[in-house]
């Protein structure tokens, strides 16, 4: 018995020790490797950028990163590799604030970049640095309905008809969903001669039709498409078009409302990081190139609305022309919108918790 126990124990210890050794070995290995890479970067031989982005831009940037690397190699003879990080927009912004060394950020809303600016990592006036509010590509908020549009949904006011269930994520946890909410609010304002009380009533009714508040855009999409819950999904145009492609245009269709919001996902160079790492030149060129013909075409191919006229005309059939208002026109800026609508105790909270 005791002999066998010893065997057992020896085996156990052996596994633990090899595990630890493997761990330590690997750790030191990867440490030196990354240190080496950093040094090389500083020597401007090869350069590495980290682009911290939000969730649905992976395919866009995967394609764009290749295009930019080729362009940069041709232009400057320098090899550039771009690492990508994707996650919820607010979470990504917090990671950068807490020390994730992003050279550039490409997020879902200006508010999240403002937050990084407040920490002094990005210089003031970032939104004026590039054209179109530093938003190289835009999108808008549309409806995804089941094939044949059985509930006859054509515009925002159809969403509050009896028996219509609306799926939209929680604007408090999803940056993207804030655009959904603001689009509805903007529509109601325009319908009611800018009467805020009426607009508030409208969004209140709208959210009374929401049976499930998912935490993120993708959760809401799953709820609508895979679980078969709800009659209409409020979504970004690029996500709606993408889900048509991925999940089948035989099951769903996209409906454009009469008016919607111009969603501007902005980009910025993280000044503190690029100055420290000496990557400013390439980081700025990286964002600038998004506005080029090639960059814009890639954006359009990934269902984002291009801003460059020549590419716009080329893809005119893909993106329906509807009346769009901007956040600045209706809400001043993101900070004001955030404060008034989404912060604790704001208008969105009052929908669910009676004002005390």
């Amino acid at each position: 018995m005791s002999k066998l126990n010893q065997k057992f124990i020896v085996g156990l210890v052996f596994i633990m020790v090899t595990g630890m050794l493997a761990a330590c070995g690997d750790k030191s290995g990867s440490d030196t490797a990354s240190a080496g890479a950093a040094k090389e970067g500083a020597a401007a031989k090869e350069v590495e950028l980290l682009n911290v982005s939000y969730d649905p831009t992976r395919e866009l940037y995967e394609q764009y990163n290749k295009a930019f690397a080729a362009y940069w190699l041709k232009e400057k003879g320098q090899k550039v590799t771009i690492k990508q990080s994707h996650g919820g927009s607010g979470k990504q912004s917090r990671s950068v604030i807490d020390g994730l060394e992003a050279d550039v950020v490409t997020l879902a809303l200006g508010y999240d970049i403002d937050a990084i600016q407040h920490e002094g990592l990005i210089n003031e006036g970032w939104q004026k640095k590039y054209e179109h509010n530093s938003s190289p590509y835009t999108s808008t908020i549309v409806f995804l309905v089941r094939k044949g549009n059985p509930k006859g949904i054509h515009d925002w006011n159809d969403l509050i008809k009896d028996g219509v269930e609306v799926i939209t994520p929680n604007p408090k946890t999803s940056g993207g969903a804030r655009w959904n909410y603001l689009a509805a609010w903007g529509y109601a304002l325009q319908q009611n001669n800018n009467d805020e009380a009426k607009a508030q009533e409208f969004v209140k009714q709208l959210f009374a039709h929401v049976p499930v508040l998912d935490t993120g855009a993708r959760g809401a999409t799953t709820t609508f498409t895979e679980r078969g819950i709800g009659d209409v999904l409020i979504a970004w145009e690029n996500e709606a078009l993408l889900s048509l492609k991925e999940l089948g245009s035989d099951k769903f269709e996209v409906v454009y409302p009469s008016v919607s919001i111009l969603a501007e996902p902005p980009v910025a160079v993280v000044d503190k990081v690029v100055d420290k790492r000496g990557t400013r030149e390439v980081a700025e060129a990286y964002l600038k190139y998004l506005y080029s013909e090639e960059g814009q075409t890639i954006a359009a191919e990934n269902y984002y609305r291009p801003t460059l006229e020549s590419v716009k005309t080329k893809f005119a059939n893909e993106f329906k022309d509807i009346k769009l208002f901007t956040i600045d026109e209706l809400f001043g800026d993101w900070a004001q919108a955030q404060n008034k609508h989404f912060n604790d105790g704001g208008i969105f909270d009052q929908i669910y918790v009676p004002k005390g």
Partner: protein
């Protein structure tokens, strides 16, 4: 009572004899009930994962696993588990020894503190490391000055995983060792055995099953942890993405089948550790 010699491997056959014949129906009812519960609670969700992952066929399944990002995530996950499991195992044995073999004030408090990581939301578990090591954290400025990366790098992921799997081994051993008491160890000491001898020869053989369970659970959780790691990882593709994070990314890209395929890979890893466990069990029983 407490000084009992464990009789593993012998209990069940003896018991069989005991229950025959008039209580056979009790046994059958219990087995059927337990199996039904297991099917309902565990098998069903796992079946969903497997059917979803194979919905688009084997090609998609294999492709998802051979993706370089998936492979690097797999490597990172194994590495993290290889670091955290041994550390928490050593801690668990030490803590269980201190708590069950000695009486001291604040014992309940200590046990409760060990339990605490279970009750802390993974989100918060990640947050606390950000508060310590992040740019605005206690050590943030110092780390920055010395260009040391803790969060958004491997050490942060290891720390977060250590935290969430912290209690497993200790918690598994404490009730078991409590139950066994210390008579055997005391007898060994009286007979002149030294400290480590007592541990290796007397205690460890007695607790090996609990220890093994603890390690297996700790390992499973270390590989599957998502929430806490997600806060401190930085999500850099191919670099700081663990398998669970990779699952989430695929899911967020509408690649449902691929994402479930990677999730099933995690299940497979767990199954491998279980096979290892039963191999151990057999080796030491026969």
């Amino acid at each position: 009572m407490a000084g009992s010699v464990p009789m593993i491997g012998q209990t069940s056959p003896r018991n069989e004899k005991l229950t025959v014949p008039k209580r056979r129906w009790v046994k059958n009812v219990l087995i059927v009930a337990a199996v039904l519960v297991l099917i309902w609670l565990i098998v069903l969700p796992l079946a969903v994962v497997l059917t979803e992952s194979l919905k688009k066929g084997w090609d998609v399944y294999i492709a998802a696993l051979r993706d370089p990002d998936a492979l690097s995530a797999l490597k990172l996950t194994l590495l993290v588990a290889a670091i955290t499991v041994p550390l928490n195992t050593i801690f668990g044995i030490a803590a269980a020894w201190a708590i069950t073999k000695f009486k001291f004030r604040g014992r309940q408090l200590l046990i409760t503190l060990i339990d605490l990581p279970f009750s802390i939301s993974p989100v918060v578990a990640g947050l606390i490391y950000v508060l310590v090591f992040g740019s605005h954290g206690w050590l943030g400025p110092w780390l920055k000055e010395h260009d040391i990366h803790i969060i958004f790098a491997l050490p942060g992921i290891v720390l977060a995983t250590l935290f969430v799997t912290f209690p497993f081994v200790a918690r598994e051993l404490i009730p078991l060792m409590e139950d066994q008491g210390s008579q055997e160890e005391e007898a060994a000491v009286t007979l002149g055995a030294r400290g480590w001898q007592v541990f290796w020869r007397v205690t460890l053989p007695n607790i090996k099953w609990g220890l093994l369970y603890g390690i297996v659970l700790c390992n499973a959780r270390a590989m599957g942890e998502f929430g806490a790691v997600s806060v401190v990882s930085g999500h850099i593709r191919g670099e700081t993405n663990t398998l669970p994070l990779h699952v989430e990314i695929l899911y967020n890209e509408y690649q449902f089948s691929a994402s479930f395929a990677v999730a099933s890979l995690l299940l497979l890893l767990a199954v491998i550790t279980l096979v290892l466990k039963s191999w151990f069990t057999r080796k030491s029983v026969h």
